[in-house]
């Protein structure tokens, strides 16, 4: 055990005294920062209110207990309404990360070549590190151009998000490998195309009455509404539907389980839409008024698609939708034509409006592209409509909020069309004949008709054939989801919690568009428990925490030069891009030098194991002239760095926090203890890098003003708090200590406290800075070319006019049993899925924390016992898992909850216990198996799931060192048992934190 106490007995005595004074139900008002909560002979115990970072982002409200300057434990905070007092195994084990003997504590430089098993780390000063960084990057950029630099970003803990934005500005390069290319980014981008960025978030805390868990396990990990909140939501729901190839930990309780074949989510989604339409369960008014369903598609193939110059994020795009400018000289190209069902005449929706932020001079508004202008003097409107924000409505009726005390919010009533208007969903047989302005006649059909055509082939029977589920279960699930349990509320049963498996079988973008459309047609956009987008609160924008307040002195990144855009042109779109450079393309560019040389970069908790082929990625990264890693550990990716910078742990830093999801909570992570030795918070490191590159971070004339490095956390947090009623970080922190997190429904009643914001003009503007919000016009509808939720994607239509992809469809995974049957021919062939949530880990994190590793020492492969018997393996056997790229080993877990023929692999294992630079990632790392060229055709997302593998027993004969247990290069076994003494050696080191 730890060195905190001499014996467990003294620990128990001390703990008893502490607990006695604190009380589990202490009133929040007594919970001041560093409140004296008890004294013992061992020293005063203080507790600090904070927000955990054991997984994704925002996460759970917690208390961190500190005694004699040391963290002794952490617990859930019941005042945090989003997390209900939850604190999972990962979070509680966090203190073992903070005090881990293997923490990086000083800047270091490599002294051995990159193919060496030992980097030969040598301690250097921060000054030397920053001097080298400034010199090397400047030298390489002046030699090869700004774009020779790229960043690498890990998962999204807010203070290490430099690569997503700040470092692009700092280095004036658009290039970054971002973990969101394979997780959540495709969902965000799908909604950016369809309605508004990040409307893939369901308001879980809005406790939908039908809880649909589609490919996830938020009962175990991720986001602030996971674990206790997720279980609470599922328990309270009238129905719980699970769509997942395997029986999940919470899904065991589902009322309906659709155990689909991995990679067929899109077919399932289209099947649900089929049922919803055929049974007339769609929200007719929403579909006609707020989706582009009634807009007209020109059918004639010889018609050249016309441009719409939208002021939305979509910008100018060519598309097949009929516009006023097509039929009338001088007509608007953003007035989209519809057929009025009431009189059989054409009319339109004008999606551009008067300048949305004409009076705003704020630089941040310009950054957000809000100041585009329009010739129209009116806000977006239907012909004849004088649109005003809707105001009538009533309080939401969310059940079960009594424990958390969160507020209900106000639901705007769905408003009808103006008198005399009702856009048609259907045209006459053969399509509507329309005369264009040049006299030419064309035929048009509605977007809705195209959707009906697309889903017609996805009957429940057909979907059953594709997915392996029962047709009657598919129909029943879709029907229960779409049939309103309580029509009197005026809104649907809730959204769909669709998660990352939908992104991993090379149909990433379209599968997520299907889910967004499904939520739309059932009337579950921006409703209680529906799809609500990212919380509007503070910081006003997620990336703000690492974004400087000063403008670049070296210009802006040139998006047109982003790597991967030759294959995936949407990556280079000036406004409507997904923000990443394609990872595989980056690695290929390093190899080939085409279209230009990539020579250097910075990884901020970034790793090469989360996408593309890990082995290929690692080989390419080694070739770079200069690489810097910012991290807590010597990870495999740190193993190829030239310089490594030590980052602070969440218990050691101050940072404002906001739910990235729809919980509506914002609060803070508050420093409980100092970082060890010379480790520094990421915010400070990023500011140092700006200084090294001569880019100002804050406004000012002196160096101390431009780069207030000694006050970096304070300065960054103050930037993020702009516009809040408590604008100073120190005051904010104090208020947070006293009261816990804020409820955005109360703090931002228009931007967050109101549902159906597309009726008020706030759906697309809620995350703008408060200063901009105050003066801007708020247009109705969504942030798209058509101003409507786009079933017909104008952006995809622009880039892929001949591919019939404007309406999303299903594609088989390239290495699945249908597209690549050769991989499935023998007895040892399996369809592999991966990426499930492990209770004690977050992706590749926490492998070195004793409390986590002892509970889950090795990676497991779940296999149906029927299959195991056939191939001759038993529970606990190591097996080889092989593709033509590589083979890895995992341990068999016999699991009746997975279909015969399918295996579930754990992802991204590496072994901190191995004394070698690559930390053995190739032994069990699942992405070493990948075909790097199997990607989503639009945005590049890797084929992480739904591919064929061979599985066979690992034996002494077929294993290196004659040992089925994976071993390091020197033959040392990995830790595979909770009794391994190396686990005890990883106990907290409370002593080695002072600077040596």
């Amino acid at each position: 055990m730890g060195k905190l106490t001499m014996t467990r007995r003294t620990f128990a005595k001390m703990a008893a005294a502490t607990a006695a004074a604190v009380g589990v139900a202490a009133p929040a008002s007594s919970a001041l920062a560093e409140t004296k909560t008890g004294t013992t002979g061992a020293g005063e115990v203080k507790r600090i209110r904070s927000t955990c970072r054991g997984c994704g982002k925002m996460e759970c409200g917690v208390w961190v207990y500190v005694q004699d300057g040391k963290v002794i434990r952490s617990e859930g905070d019941e005042a945090a309404f989003q997390s209900m007092g939850n604190h999972c195994s990962k979070g509680q084990a966090s203190l073992q990360a903070a005090y881990h003997p293997d923490r990086l504590k000083y800047p270091m430089k490599r002294t051995n070549p990159k193919d060496s098993n030992d980097p030969g780390w040598q301690r250097i000063t921060w000054d030397e590190a920053m001097e080298t960084i400034g010199e090397k990057f400047s030298e390489l950029q002046s030699k090869y151009g700004n774009e020779t630099y790229f960043s690498m970003a890990g998962t999204s803990r807010i203070w290490s998000m430099g690569p997503y934005a700040a470092l692009k500005q700092c280095f004036v390069s658009p290039n970054a490998i971002q973990a969101n290319e394979i997780c959540k980014g495709p969902r965000f981008y799908a909604t950016k195309l369809n309605d508004y960025n990040a409307y893939s978030w369901m308001e879980t805390v809005g406790r939908p009455r039908v809880y649909v868990q589609w490919g996830g396990a938020s009962e175990l990990s991720n986001y602030d509404d996971s674990c206790r909140t997720t279980v609470d939501v599922a328990t309270r729901a009238d129905y719980h539907i699970l769509v997942d190839p395997r029986q999940t930990n919470l899904g065991k309780e589902a009322d309906i389980w659709l155990p689909l074949r991995p990679g067929t989510d899109a077919a399932m989604g289209l099947g649900w839409i089929n049922v919803v339409i055929n049974k007339g369960l769609y929200d007719d008014l929403y579909v006609r008024k707020w989706m582009n369903a009634p807009m007209l598609v020109v059918e004639d193939e010889d018609w050249e698609p016309s441009v719409s110059d939208s002021q939305s994020t979509h910008g100018s795009k060519k598309n097949r939708l009929l516009k006023q400018s097509d039929i009338k000289e001088g007509g608007s190209n953003t007035a989209f034509m519809v057929l009025n069902e009431l009189n059989g005449e054409l009319t339109y929706y004008e999606s551009n409006g008067k300048s949305v932020a004409s009076s705003v001079t704020d630089a941040s508004a310009a950054d957000l592209n809000l100041s585009s202008s329009s010739s129209s003097g009116k806000l977006p409107h239907w012909e004849g409509e004088d649109w005003k924000p809707a105001t009538a409505g009533r309080e939401a009726q969310i059940h079960g909020l009594d424990l958390t005390g969160q507020s209900q919010g106000f639901v705007i009533d769905a408003t009808p069309f103006i008198d005399g208007l009702y856009p048609a969903l259907y045209t006459p047989e053969g399509g509507l004949e329309v005369t264009l302005k040049d006299g030419k006649k064309v035929h048009c059909r509605t977007v809705w008709e195209h959707l009906c055509d697309r889903v017609a082939e996805y009957t429940p029977e057909k979907v059953a054939e594709i997915t392996g589920c029962k047709a009657e279960d598919i129909e029943r699930a879709a029907t229960i989801y779409a049939t309103r349990l309580d029509p009197s509320t005026g809104y649907g049963n809730g959204g769909i919690q669709y998660m990352l498996p939908l992104e991993h079988s090379c149909n990433s973008l379209q599968t997520n568009r299907i889910m967004d459309i499904l939520c739309g047609i059932t009337g579950n956009m921006d409703t209680p428990g529906g799809m609500r987008g990212s919380t509007a609160g503070w910081p006003f924008f997620d990336l703000a925490m690492t974004l400087p307040s000063a403008a670049s002195v070296k210009g802006s990144p040139d998006q047109s030069k982003i790597i991967g855009s030759d294959k995936f042109p949407m990556l280079a779109d000036p406004k409507c891009n997904p923000s990443w450079a394609d990872a595989t393309s980056i690695y290929k560019t390093i190899e080939t030098g085409q279209p230009y040389k990539l020579s250097c970069g910075i990884g901020q908790t970034g790793d090469h194991m989360n996408q593309s082929n890990s082995l290929y990625a690692y080989e390419q990264l080694k070739k770079l002239d200069f690489w810097v890693s910012i991290d807590l550990w010597e990870t495999p990716t740190v193993g190829i760095a030239d310089i490594v910078l030590p980052a602070a742990h969440w218990m050691e830093l101050d940072c404002i926090r906001k739910s990235q999801g729809s919980s509506g909570s914002f609060g803070a992570t508050c420093k409980a203890v100092e970082p060890p030795a010379e480790a520094e918070p990421d915010l400070k490191i990023v500011m140092r890098i700006f200084k090294a590159m001569g880019q100002p971070y804050c406004e000012g004339s002196t160096d101390d003003e431009k780069w207030p490095i000694d006050d970096a956390e304070n300065a960054c947090n103050n930037i993020a708090l702009a516009g809040f009623r408590i604008p100073e970080w120190q005051d904010y922190k104090k208020a947070f200590q006293e009261n816990g997190p804020w409820d955005s429904k109360i703090e931002k009643p228009e931007a967050w406290g109101t549902y159906r914001r597309y009726e008020t003009g706030w759906a697309t503007t809620s995350d703008s800075p408060a200063a901009v919000q105050a003066v801007m016009d708020h247009p109705q509808g969504w942030d798209t070319s058509t101003g409507k939720q786009e079933i017909w994607s104008t952006v995809i239509d622009n880039y892929y006019p001949d591919d019939d992809q404007a309406i999303p469809t299903f594609r088989e995974a390239p290495h699945g049993p249908v597209a690549d049957p050769d991989l499935f021919k023998d007895d040892n062939s399996f369809l592999a899925t991966t990426g499930r949530r492990i209770p004690v880990y977050f992706h590749n994190e926490h492998r070195q924390l004793p409390w986590c590793r002892e509970l889950w020492p090795v990676p497991r492969i779940e296999m149906n016992p029927e299959d195991a018997e056939r191939i001759g393996v038993e529970q606990g056997d190591w097996v080889w898992i092989e593709t033509k790229e590589h083979k890895i080993r995992e341990v068999v877990d016999l699991y009746h909850g997975i279909a015969p023929g399918v295996v579930n692999l754990e992802h991204q294992w590496w072994f901190p216990e191995l004394k070698q630079a690559d930390k053995g990632f190739a032994l069990c790392g699942v992405n070493c198996l990948l075909d790097k060229d199997a990607q989503d055709p639009f945005i590049g997302t890797s084929n992480l799931r739904a591919y064929g593998v061979k599985v066979y027993k690992a034996t002494a004969e077929n294993s290196p060192f004659g040992n089925p247990v994976p071993c390091g290069d020197d033959g040392t076994e990995i830790i595979h048992d909770s009794s391994d003494p190396r686990l005890k050696a990883w106990a907290p080191d409370y002593e080695g934190r002072t600077k040596a």
Partner: protein, 213 residues
């Protein structure tokens, strides 16, 4: 005498292991040893299903010292180290323990172990240092499923308390305002009883309890 115990709602337990780590963090249990463990039961065929995938069900069983009313460990202890404390819990007086491990062998649930450093047997104390002050055991307050409640079995499990300091009884109801769903007497189970009368209870609705009664 009272019978302090924990009741776990197995329909809400998702095997998140927060209780296991909570115990370690609070009680300083040595790495490699556990006071509580979570077992996966199944997946096993459901009663009216096809007998195979996907007609299967799983539950997670949290196992620790059951603080029995008539504990074998106390009977076999040669020194009186293992004893029933005044509050009704089963405890080990480490000053009397000689590390003979008869108790560990006699325990029907395998929840005791020898601490190698101290050479004494250890097991779950039900966080006596907390419960003595009227608080809840750490595995109850930190339960990720809001599935665990602590109380005196003699008072009935509806009186047990959990997070938010609510009693189980206050939280039971059919509709969405209630986070605990109603259960029948026949849904309440305990680990196999060989005359030791375990105090802990497990609620499992709609599915077959795989332990004996």
């Amino acid at each position: 005498m009272s019978h302090p115990a924990i009741v776990t709602d197995l329909n809400k337990c998702v095997g998140c292991l927060a209780c296991s780590v909570a115990c370690k963090a609070f009680n300083g249990v040595p790495i490699g040893s556990f006071w509580n463990k979570t077992l996966r039961i199944g997946p096993y065929p459901t009663a009216e299903g096809s007998g195979h995938f996907p007609d299967v069900y799983t539950y997670f069983l949290t196992v620790q010292c059951q603080h029995c009313a008539d504990p074998e460990c106390v009977k076999v202890c040669p020194t009186g180290a293992s004893h029933i404390a005044a509050d009704g819990t089963v405890q080990i007086d480490k000053s009397k323990c000689i590390g003979c491990q008869f108790c560990a062998m006699s325990c029907p649930y395998g929840v005791r172990y020898l601490n190698d450093e101290e050479r004494v047997v250890e097991k779950c104390t039900l966080c006596e240092q907390k419960t003595a002050q009227g608080e809840l055991p750490q595995c109850v307050t930190q339960c990720g499923g809001f599935a665990r409640f602590f109380g005196d079995l003699d008072e009935g499990i509806e009186s047990f308390r959990g997070p938010y300091n609510k009693t189980l009884g206050e939280l039971i109801g059919e509709d969405g305002d209630y986070p605990i769903k109603p259960f029948k007497d026949s849904d309440v189970h305990h680990l196999p009883d060989v005359g030791n009368h375990p105090s802990f209870r497990y609620i499992l609705r709609n599915h077959e309890w795989k332990g004996e009664e």
